[in-house]
Symmetry: C2
Subunit: 727 residues, 2 copies
């Protein structure tokens, strides 16, 4: 019967893709507006396409290199199974495809949103949001489709294996599909993040500060690049990031389920498909939620926010209820439903705390704005201080979430580690189950932002600007909560991946012909060895210097990765500044509005900058876990992963919140407080905002990738680590 | 024979104190200069005294509260021995005394340094450096004196205990003396750090930026407070920090030695006194080194640096050689001498890497200065980016240092964990063995800085200013390396304390009447239980959710603590700005130079600010480890400590280096590069420098304390944690 239930999974994924197609078609049918609007939209679309093409080229080389490595591992010394390189490729391909579709939709939608806003606020919201929903649904649809296909396929492929091993090998093989998604996400997030902020910072520094022209002014040569950046960073980058979390959490949980329930074949199968089923039902609820989003004309900011919230809340509440049904149908312990609810609530708390610390409606951001009265230095100091303090609530939420989801699933015992870790994985799946709609609200942001840019550049009327501004401002709030959500899910997914690393070790040892683990002088058959046995066998405790050293390196990796991406933005932005200054100087007609600037040149500079600058951080993220594995072995790798996770999570929250708060402190002043636009206070907050740009849109989000990617690399290379140390 | 060797320890400590007294007396004999110079010096001296008095008042209350707690623990349920509260008090008292003497010397020395600089550069250097040496020698002298007295005393006190237990109980009791030093250091570093930067930032924001008057201008009401701040932050605060590391590393290593060598009474005794002997010989070499520091007239910056380096290098090289002699005399494995050398080299590498990343002589800082061409935002971005990248070398140095010092001491086996951890402790002792002279070079900085301020305010001639500037600039370099050194020693000390936490657990279990540890079904007699047994018993492995959760909380604590102190500086500085503005407005005579500003009022504001703002971070640092112990038990506490250590260390390096680099990027521009003083580039770097002030002088250094204090609190409360979870 349970295999019957499983078919809901592919059906839901196809449903998601169908609705995505439906929304896309509906959007394309709309009018794109005046010739001027079309022209600008085309500039942005072409720029985005040009960038993606470059990015995919770099990615293709990396994939080729890794594929060769995996193929060698499989066909050479037999350190991986022969499906891995292909699973890896499909993971990367589908992630890239989702990014491409999402970005194409977004760049098609912006002018149409602006045009619809000429008619009414509601029409604008509908187009922007449903276009965002295309991204959300494509991500979950393609992710779950890939998972279902592999799941069916590998069941046949591994049919000859003994039952005890089959699900373990199957689920750990599928995990390597996540490695493909991780690698793709690395370049999308890091490259996209550098692109977007190089353009944004560069455009602001010359445009706003030096030339004194407003944001999105068509005279600014970097303005198109800035708009392109929103798409490649916030749409394609965010999408790839969450695609990875989505697939990673489902696959890791499946692997943990195969391990925790290995005593009964039926229970094991059910535990493996449980995360998939939760995700599938989440998709269906997300689609319904999307249809609930609509608003009245002349809606206030709060009403707009509430109408988005209605859709998201609907899906969340129902998935919480339905989850218990799924758990019941699968004949599992009903308390596991509690773990799902915990995941949903943790996501909610992190989102709310992000909102509190970054919205100008609350004191923390207002205080940052007030500190601007003594100049930019105090703005930066208080932004950093507040950002650091803002890590407390998300960390406590995750901490309590870990404990509760562990205990719910482990029959409230700290001894049932396998079950407990499965619970943590299930919490991650719960948090991400409604990704279809939450990602829609994220992807909506840059569409609305670009619509505003388009309206500004095509010089549409005041009324239209006001509407697109309202939509844009809503997008800023959802972007902030979306970021918190992306970080939270990365942390939980990271933990689940960490645990499934042990599963991969087990498979690696089996493949090398080991059958027992000798722990404290006792022989334990490998398929019976549990997490604690592995911890004892590899001495993964806090008095092992290799673990301690790994923790230090992991913590350092988070900072190093951040520092490299920060400086990358600084350098690329400087090149942009030079180009814009050059154009202004060489062609005086540009500033007078008599001559069109060379937009394409600026897009090219951002593209090149991103391409060059993403190489070092990317190589580091892939190489370091491999090296640590070879030098320090399993205990060092686990130290590395945990160190990177703990530091990286806190650092990511800090950077996202500080950046968001600076952004909105500026907006708070622009709304007329503390002297308003053009005052010294405003100038100080603009500096804070510029500092915050790479914080919130490049370095911070890139940490999500680092956290997951280092685990993925370790998982895929586990066989090599094991073999190397057995030599 | 070995007890005979031990007597070198008290002798060396008395020697240190004698030379400190000798240097002090010599300094006081010098002329303090013109009446104007004396008047200004008195202002600073009075301000510093007033601040210290306030700080000691707060500290007294905290000590009283903790003493009552410890007394209750000892005399009530018997969770600690009855010496602890008294040991705690003496630790705090001697630390406070060292701070007081150091600061009094520094404030006496600044005018005399300026006055001597009227005569020659060499005279100025000699007075400033030897006054700094007073601090250095008082810290090591009082520290080691306290340790020797307790060591002798407790040997009699615990004479009735069985041999196997005696040294364990003795050394763990002495550790609580470190808790006193930790608590004192907490307030000295945090309070002093907030004081100094509130004054500095406040003075700069109104003075330099708004009123356009130079630094150290006597018309600026906050200028005395700024000079006071250098003394309370960089002399008393730094001294207390390193006093704690010094005592903490010696005591923790002694405790680890008692454990690792418990099989032979003689070997155990030798292992316990080895760190003390190394420190004692280090003192003697430091004194000789201090006498080597002298320079030619008209020395260049490099020659000045080399003359300081000569003293430090002499002591370091000789201690490395002598250490092998000590190890030989104590009949220990000679490879342990290697651990000492490792500690010295790691300290050196961290210092050099700090210099590379923060000195304007190298590219990283110059690049930050160049980024100022596009305004303050890019200065801040590139400072943060570079600061983050700069964590890589120190982390790798510590990582390699941990591994090597572990392996040297453990006969190159990862299985001899007890011996290996002892090696890590010995490395920390090695790094700190020459503290007498390295701290002298640190404390020299603020004295030279104040001498410059005094010369400026008393309007001494151009020639004198040039000399004091040279001395000051030298101080900036030593301050940066000193900071790196303080962080590095805190990390190693933190690791040694972490390991000795296990020893304290053992004593706690014994005290509660336990005699065996049941590990994996096997009974292990407690005094035979090793580190691995404890790790297994408490399941301190990376798949235990309590450990993982502890790691997250530890990581978060580092950020939270930083954020609180950053915001504290922001708030206190703003109050300072308001006061200075008020004085300028109410008394227009001040800016014309016709009226003396109310310096005392500004000192008071900084004092109050520091007093109020240090409360929250301090309470957190003490309470959180206790709470984690009660809720999560031993495994949670160890997670917390390691998380705090790994994140805190990296964060501290980042903050110190970013702050130092911004400071020197500004100096690089002021030296005439990129447009020089007064240009837009200069203004942008001034903003970077102001942001960096709390980075490098408040939040960054405070993390050293957090790392050690959380361990100390856990150690002292170990009995409570154990008892609570046995209930």
């Amino acid at each position: 019967m349970e295999m019957t239930l499983f078919w809901i999974v592919p059906v839901a994924s196809i449903l998601a893709l169908s609705f995505a197609y439906f929304f896309y078609k509906n959007m394309v049918k709309q009018d794109e507006g005046t010739p001027e609007m079309k022209r600008i939209a085309k500039h942005v679309r072409d720029g985005a396409k040009a960038y993606l093409k470059q990015q995919y080229k770099v990615v293709a080389w990396v994939f080729l290199a890794l594929c060769i490595l995996f193929a060698w591992m499989a066909y050479g010394p037999g350190l991986q199974n022969k499906w891995v390189w292909f699973a890896f490729l499909t993971g990367g391909f589908f992630s890239g495809l989702a990014g491409f579709i999402g970005m194409r939709t977004a760049t098609m939608a912006s002018a149409r949103t602006a045009n619809a806003a000429r008619e009414s606020l509601n029409s604008g919201l509908k187009i922007a949001f449903r276009s965002g929903a295309v991204m959300g649904l494509v991500v979950v649809g393609l992710g779950l489709l890939d998972i279902s296909v592999w799941f069916v396929l590998l069941q046949y492929a591994f049919d000859s294996l003994p039952v005890a091993e089959k699900m373990t090998v199957l689920t750990t093989t599928m995990l390597t599909f996540g490695m493909g998604a991780s690698t793709q996400a690395l370049f999308a997030r890091v490259g996209g993040g550098i692109f977007t902020k190089a353009a944004d910072v560069g455009a602001d520094l010359v445009g706003k500060v030096e030339a004194g022209i407003p944001e999105d002014d068509p005279r600014n040569p970097a303005t198109i690049a800035d708009n392109v950046g929103d798409n490649v960073g916030d749409v394609a980058g965010m999408g790839a990031d969450l695609y990875e979390s989505y697939c990673g959490s489902i696959l890791a949980t499946a692997a943990l389920g195969a391990s925790a329930y290995h005593l009964s074949e039926q229970a094991q199968f059910n535990a493996v498909i449980a995360p998939m089923l939760i995700a599938a039902v989440g998709i269906i609820l997300s689609i319904v939620g999307i249809f609930l989003v609509r608003t009245d004309e002349n809606a206030t900011q709060n009403q707009l926010l509430r109408s988005l919230g209605k859709g998201v809340n609907f899906s969340s509440v129902l998935i919480a209820i339905f989850s218990f049904g799924i758990i019941y149908l699968l004949d599992m312990n009903l308390w596991i439903g509690g773990s799902i609810v915990v995941g949903l609530i943790v996501g909610l708390i992190i989102g709310k705390s992000t909102e509190y610390y970054t919205s100008q409606a609350y004191r923390p951001t207002q205080k940052i704005a007030e500190s601007a009265e003594t100049g930019p230095a105090t703005v930066v100091i208080s932004g950093i201080g507040t950002g650091m303090i803002s890590t407390a609530i998300p960390v406590m939420a995750i901490v309590v979430g870990i404990m509760l989801s562990f205990l719910f699933a482990s029959h409230f015992s700290f001894d049932n580690i396998g079950l407990g870790l499965y619970g943590i994985g299930i919490a991650a799946v719960g948090m991400l189950s409604t990704l279809g709609i939450t990602l829609a609200t994220d992807a909506y942001g840059p569409i609305a932002d670009n619509a505003g840019g388009n309206a500004e550049m095509s010089r549409l009327g005041e009324e239209v600007r006001k509407r697109t501004d309202a939509l844009d401002s809503l997008g800023n709030t959802t972007a902030a909560t979306g970021k918190g959500f992306a970080i939270g899910s990365a942390a939980l997914t990271g933990l689940a991946l960490l645990a499934s690393y042990i599963e991969e070790l087990k498979v690696g040892l089996l493949r090398l012909g080991n059958e027992v683990l000798v722990v404290d002088g006792v022989d334990i058959p490998l398929h019976k060895a549990n997490f604690v046995d592995f911890m004892h066998y590899y001495e993964v405790n806090l008095m092992n210097p290799k673990v301690l050293v790994g923790l230090f390196i992991g913590s350092m990796m988070a900072f190093l990765f951040c520092g490299l991406t920060m400086n990358a933005v600084g350098r690329a932005a400087q090149k942009m500044v030079e180009e814009v200054r050059r154009q202004f100087k060489t062609f005086p007609g540009i500033l007078k509005g008599e001559q069109e600037p060379d937009y394409a040149r600026c897009v090219e500079i951002s593209t090149k900058g991103a391409q060059v600058e993403m190489i070092w951080p990317s190589i580091l993220a892939i190489i370091v876990p491999i090296l640590v594995g070879l030098v320090l072995g399993v205990s060092g790798v686990m130290g590395l992963l945990v160190g990177g996770l703990a530091s990286g999570f806190v650092l990511a929250v800090f950077m996202a919140n500080a950046g968001g708060a600076w952004d909105n402190a500026k907006k708070y002043v622009e709304e007329g407080n503390l002297g308003g636009k053009g005052s010294d206070v405003h100038k100080a907050t603009v500096i804070g905002d510029t500092v915050g740009d790479p914080f919130k849109d490049t370095s911070g989000p890139s940490l999500n990738i680092l956290i997951k990617l280092m685990s993925m690399v370790s998982i895929v290379m586990a066989g090599v680590t094991v073999a190397f140390h057995l030599l």
